[in-house]
């Protein structure tokens, strides 16, 4: 039964049909499928399925990424409230756009997908300074800082990832807090994340979850 639900849910996501996706989830609940199964066996695999299809064909569309994240976040929120035992969060991320950058779509997609993967995210908003990224990561005990940039100069700026790295070195936090970057400039130059001194990059918001989970596992407590 689950494979049929998964298939129908994936199709709804591909068709960017939110109502259909939600209907499939609610019908599954009525048939006795547990909320835990819906999150971990339907929603999370659908994110992975989208990631795979992106790799195979350079990109499912931005609209599909957006819808995947939005539905994943909505369904997960609803299901978490019905879990038989509270879910275990595997880690935490603070995320925002770099200073001077006002394009928030990418981070929104990341946040939506992370929820289902039991990674908590704190949205720092747009135009975030290097100091704020680090201070908020410390305050929230986050293992990862996510920096999204839509424009090249806001990705390369001294107060973006380079600035965050500088502060992490000064505060001797490099082993405790990792940096992931993403956004359009990184898709045009796959080596750019190295020159801005990030630990990793993700090609899109959908793929970011796995990279962030990996970074969390690398962090020394």
């Amino acid at each position: 039964m689950i494979s049929k639900i998964k298939e129908a849910y994936n199709q709804a996501i591909f068709d960017t049909d939110k109502n259909a996706a939600l209907r499939i989830v609610h019908e599954a609940l009525q048939k006795g499928v547990t909320p835990e199964t819906i999150v971990f066996n339907v929603v999370v695999p659908s994110i992975e399925y989208m990631t795979t299809s992106i790799r195979q064909n350079f990109g499912a569309s931005l609209a599909q990424h957006f819808m995947t994240a939005q539905i994943a976040a909505q369904v997960t929120d609803e299901m978490l409230a019905m879990f038989s035992t509270p879910s275990k969060i595997i880690g935490k991320l603070v995320i925002g756009t770099s200073q001077g950058d006002f394009h928030g779509l990418g981070k929104k997609i990341v946040i939506g997908c992370l929820k289902a993967q039991m990674i908590e995210s704190v949205d720092l908003g747009l135009n975030v300074s290097a100091e704020k990224f680090v201070n908020e990561a410390i305050n929230h005990q986050a293992q990862v800082i996510g920096i999204s940039s839509m424009m090249l100069h806001t990705a390369r700026g001294e107060n973006a990832c380079l600035g965050v790295r500088k502060i992490l070195i000064e505060k001797e936090l490099e082993r405790k807090i990792k940096i992931i970057v993403g956004g359009a400039p990184y898709r045009y130059d796959h080596e750019l994340y190295k020159s801005v001194k990030a630990d990793a990059w993700a090609e899109n918001g959908i793929a970011a979850g796995k990279v962030i989970a990996q970074l969390i596992s690398e962090v020394q407590p």
């Binding site: 931005l62 001077g100 006002f102 779509l105 100069h153 700026g157």
Partner: protein
């Protein structure tokens, strides 16, 4: 001496001139040429025109731009704050549409030419027209109806509205932005522009799945260009790929030029176009920042080997980042002039 306009006309007609046309899109670099900050530079049409003319003269490419920065279109519709940086293009800092009522209130100016926010662009166009004297094509950048809402309300809110409605509000907004597109195009045409870039990321399957492309993108492209000669328009998806839709777009609309994405396969694009339109092969210009001279020449040669099979081809860039070293711009252009020569 052959001019940029002659090169372009020859290429559009499937003929050979001395070399392929070269569109090098330097915008912010004009400020550096004039020794001004970006904010000062973009404050006056005279500065932008002078920057464009100086850079074209200095590097020898074939086009001129009347575009200041993309957010300037939002200013015509009420955007009150543009955020400047010393390192890259200005950003829209005020969203005109924040709540549904703002869509009802949105007014499209009837006469763009006399709009105060068009004054500097108009000055720029008049100078470019006078100084270029028809020798070099003057490009203008026009955001399509489906893309304009992202400048007015942010991409996140716009995609949400596009996908999930409310449909009546979405359609009301699109009718207005389509009207704006037509009025802007008429203004630029009257002021002397002769290359009209139709910028529409939503015209790419990288942005919308095929179903939405058919359901929204096709009808709104049709609406935008209903009274315009499509041969005068350049199909451009803001750097997103277009090969998968080119055939449909030609059959349905007959655009005269396709300005590919750096991620489109040039050979494939040309095969799909099959001589029905002009095709620009576009370099991944972010890589120009770090590439060596050898890497730049190798990439240009690869692109031109693919694009110069057959006719109706030219070389283009996206909006060149300010961080590209001047010598790399020269290396790229010298390589295009060399490998792109018909002599």
């Amino acid at each position: 001496m052959i001019t940029g306009m002659e090169r372009l006309i020859a290429a559009a007609n499937g003929q050979k001139s001395d070399r392929i046309p070269v569109f090098c899109n330097l915008l912010d670099q004009g400020a550096k040429e004039l020794g001004l900050s970006l904010k000062e530079y973009y404050s006056k049409g005279e500065y932008v025109a002078e920057g464009q003319l100086k850079m074209r003269e200095k590097y020898g490419y074939d086009n001129l731009w009347s575009l200041f920065y993309v957010g300037k279109e939002a200013e015509l519709l009420g955007c009150k704050n543009i955020i400047y940086s010393d390192y890259g293009p200005p950003n829209v800092g005020h969203m005109v549409i924040r709540k549904p009522e703002d869509i009802h209130k949105l007014e499209i100016p009837d006469d763009i030419l006399s709009h105060p926010k068009f004054e500097e662009t108009l000055k720029c166009l008049q100078i470019l027209k006078r100084e270029s004297d028809g020798k070099y094509p003057i490009c203008c950048y026009l955001t399509a109806s489906m893309a304009m809402p992202s400048l007015l309300m942010g991409m996140e809110k716009w995609i949400d509205m596009l996908l999930s409605g409310p449909a009546d509000l979405r359609d009301e907004l699109l009718l207005k932005t389509s009207d704006f597109f037509k009025k802007q195009l008429a203004a630029y045409k009257a002021a002397g522009a002769n290359i009209f870039l139709y910028s529409n990321p939503f015209g790419s399957l990288d942005f919308v799945p095929n179903k939405l492309f058919e359901e929204f993108s096709i009808p709104w492209i049709r609406k935008d260009i209903e009274s315009i000669d499509p041969k005068s328009l350049v199909y451009y998806c803001g750097g997103a790929r277009m090969n998968p839709v080119i055939d449909r777009v030609i059959k349905k609309f007959g655009f005269g030029t396709f300005y590919l994405s750096p991620f489109d396969d040039i050979s494939e694009g040309k095969q799909i176009i099959a001589g029905r339109a002009l095709c620009a092969g576009v370099i991944n210009d972010i890589k120009l920042i770090a590439w060596t001279k050898t890497e730049i020449k190798t990439e240009v040669k690869r692109m031109l080997d693919a694009g110069m099979q057959g006719d109706r081809f030219f070389f283009g860039t996206l909006v060149m980042p300010l961080a590209i070293p001047e010598e790399n711009i020269r290396t790229m252009l010298d390589a295009v002039y060399d490998y792109g020569s018909y002599k």
